[in-house]
């Protein structure tokens, strides 16, 4: 008992190493709970605004253009490169032991089930999520968010909900394009570097193809499309302090969005591929 006390409490009210560790865990849990509550609240209000038809269509269209159309270039470049790399690494591993046409299946399944949606999400975290946090964070520290409240307007309705809905629309579409381009680039790379013909590549791809896989990929895109703007907006609206605060919340948002996407991604196989 005495030794436990010395670890937890060093005497005189000062916490010992275990006490400090418990305090850190407590603070971390408190911070996580606070952010989870904030995110859940924004999500709930968006659902309410969506079903009561109080979100301006014009704002949603603007955000779809900005998130979707304007992100198309970087998403397609990423998908092309991921298809090429998967194809070449697969070819290197299969040489001499596995029929090369299996590469078609490896590339298509890798791109559709994982690389297409996750790499698209990672690109959008940097391009879209960080910008949302910085924009809303700047509005917060320059009192523009307070100004909206003072005018009887809810920033969630006017600024956040259109971005979340735009994410839900545009990210699955981007994922669909990324899947197609990733497979296509993998096929071209296999032919150019490994001499695997298109017919053989497609034969291999069809061997383990399920139509469900494409829906699985789009579902991931849909969820990521909601998670990224949701977390980004929450972090932006939680910004405190001046320019330094905006920088801090943007960095935290990128970390939080990346973790959220990876955690959600890890939940997909047990939930949808069993």
């Amino acid at each position: 008992m005495a030794s436990t006390q010395s670890v937890v409490d060093e005497g005189g009210g000062e916490p010992g190493p275990v006490g400090r560790w418990l305090a850190r865990v407590g603070r971390g849990s408190e911070t996580f709970s606070r952010h989870a509550y904030g995110v859940a609240l924004i999500a709930w209000r968006t659902v309410v605004y969506l079903f009561t038809g109080r979100i301006a269509l014009r704002d949603v269209v603007t955000q779809v253009y900005w998130m979707g159309a304007q992100s198309m270039g970087i998403v397609l470049v990423t998908a092309t490169l991921s298809g090429i790399v998967t194809s070449q690494q697969g070819g290197y591993q299969f040489s001499g032991s596995v029929p090369l046409y299996v590469l078609g299946s490896v590339v298509s399944q890798s791109v559709i089930l994982e690389l297409g949606p996750v790499l698209t999400a990672v690109v959008l975290i940097g391009r879209v999520g960080a910008r949302i946090t910085a924009e809303l964070g700047t509005m917060q520290v320059s009192e523009q968010i307070d100004a909206l409240y003072s005018l009887g307007r809810d920033p969630v309705r006017t600024l956040v909900s259109p971005r979340i809905i735009a994410g839900l629309i545009s990210v699955p579409l981007l994922v669909a394009f990324a899947d197609c381009i990733g497979m296509l680039s993998g096929m071209v790379a296999a032919q150019a570097t490994l001499g695997l013909g298109n017919q053989a590549f497609l034969y291999g791809a069809r061997l383990f193809w399920h139509n469900w896989d494409f829906l699985y990929s789009l579902t991931k895109g849909l969820v990521f499309g909601g998670v990224i703007p949701l977390v980004a907006a929450h972090m932006g609206l939680s910004t405190r302090g001046g320019a330094e605060g905006v920088g801090r919340s943007t960095t935290s948002a990128v970390v939080a969005m990346t973790l959220a996407v990876l955690v959600v991604d890890a939940m997909f196989p047990p939930l949808m591929l069993q």
Binding site: E143, Q144, L151
Partner: protein, 267 residues
């Protein structure tokens, strides 16, 4: 010192416009420590005090932008903090807020910024032409050439112009109460005088109740009906500008004479 809950006799018709009741708020230190204050209809109240004494926090609690730890604010007798979100939105529409740095929306033009002061229903029902008329009318009230500035972004305006656009946005919905947070900070003396005259004009023409948080005593005292001085979260003084000028209170004297009081020298 005058009782902070006493309203001006000539403006007391119909009950107080704003009541602060036992307000407490603590951040790292107590910012509001039991503020009681009543603001009469049509009154111009100047709230002064050193930096960090809770003036802006007091202003933000008025419309619920900051929630106090204890106490309440009432607008037209209606509690701000016991209201449903819908009632709170309605209360906020009765109040215009002029922010320290104007807080104009960066991505919107002056026209769009000012029209944001109208409710969604008003914007829908009035149509573009009538909304434009209202925006022009509001910009005229703040002495701005509406046609010349309506299409500009806030970044294309000077500090004084941004402040006036902020006021135009606050008054377009014809609020009963206007809250000014440091309305002349950062402005040159000419523009500061323009803004002070504007505040007086808005009271005269529209009967608007005004609460002005300011450090600019020289410019504000001539237009104010009463002055309230905050010190460490408490009301230190409330009275007319003449009573304020004649006060023997050490902090008031220091404020008027731009001297450092003994209490602050120790800091």
């Amino acid at each position: 010192m005058a009782d902070p809950n006493v309203m001006l006799d000539n403006t007391a018709q119909g009950g107080p416009a704003v009541e602060y009741v036992d307000l407490f708020k603590t951040f790292d230190y107590p910012v509001l420590a039991g503020v009681n204050l009543t603001v009469a209809r049509g009154e111009i109240l100047a709230v002064v005090g050193h930096s960090g004494t809770g003036k802006s926090v007091l202003l933000k609690t008025t419309i619920g932008l900051i929630t106090p730890d204890d106490g309440d604010v009432r607008i037209d007798g209606q509690s701000v903090f016991d209201s449903t979100p819908r009632v709170l939105r309605e209360l906020r529409r009765k109040v215009g807020y002029v922010f320290q740095n104007a807080a104009l929306f960066d991505s919107m033009t002056v026209y769009e910024n000012v029209s944001q002061g109208l409710s969604d229903r008003e914007l829908r029902e009035m149509g573009r032409e009538k909304v434009t008329d209202k925006v022009v009318e509001s910009l005229d009230l703040v002495n701005m050439d509406a046609r010349a500035v309506m299409g500009k972004l806030p970044s294309e305006l000077s500090g004084g112009m941004r402040k006036r656009v902020g006021i135009a946005r606050a008054i377009i919905g014809r609020p009963e109460i206007l809250l000014y947070d440091e309305p002349v900070t950062g402005l040159d003396p000419v523009n500061a005088t323009v803004v002070h005259r504007l505040i007086a004009k808005l009271r005269q023409e529209l009967g608007i109740t005004s609460i002005i948080v300011t450090h600019d005593i020289e410019g504000t005292l001539p237009i104010a009906d009463r002055v309230a001085m905050l010190d460490r979260g408490r009301i230190r003084f409330v009275g007319t500008p003449d009573e304020f000028r004649a006060s023997a209170d050490v902090l008031v004297r220091a404020f008027l004479e731009r001297d450092v009081p003994i209490e602050l020298e120790q800091v």
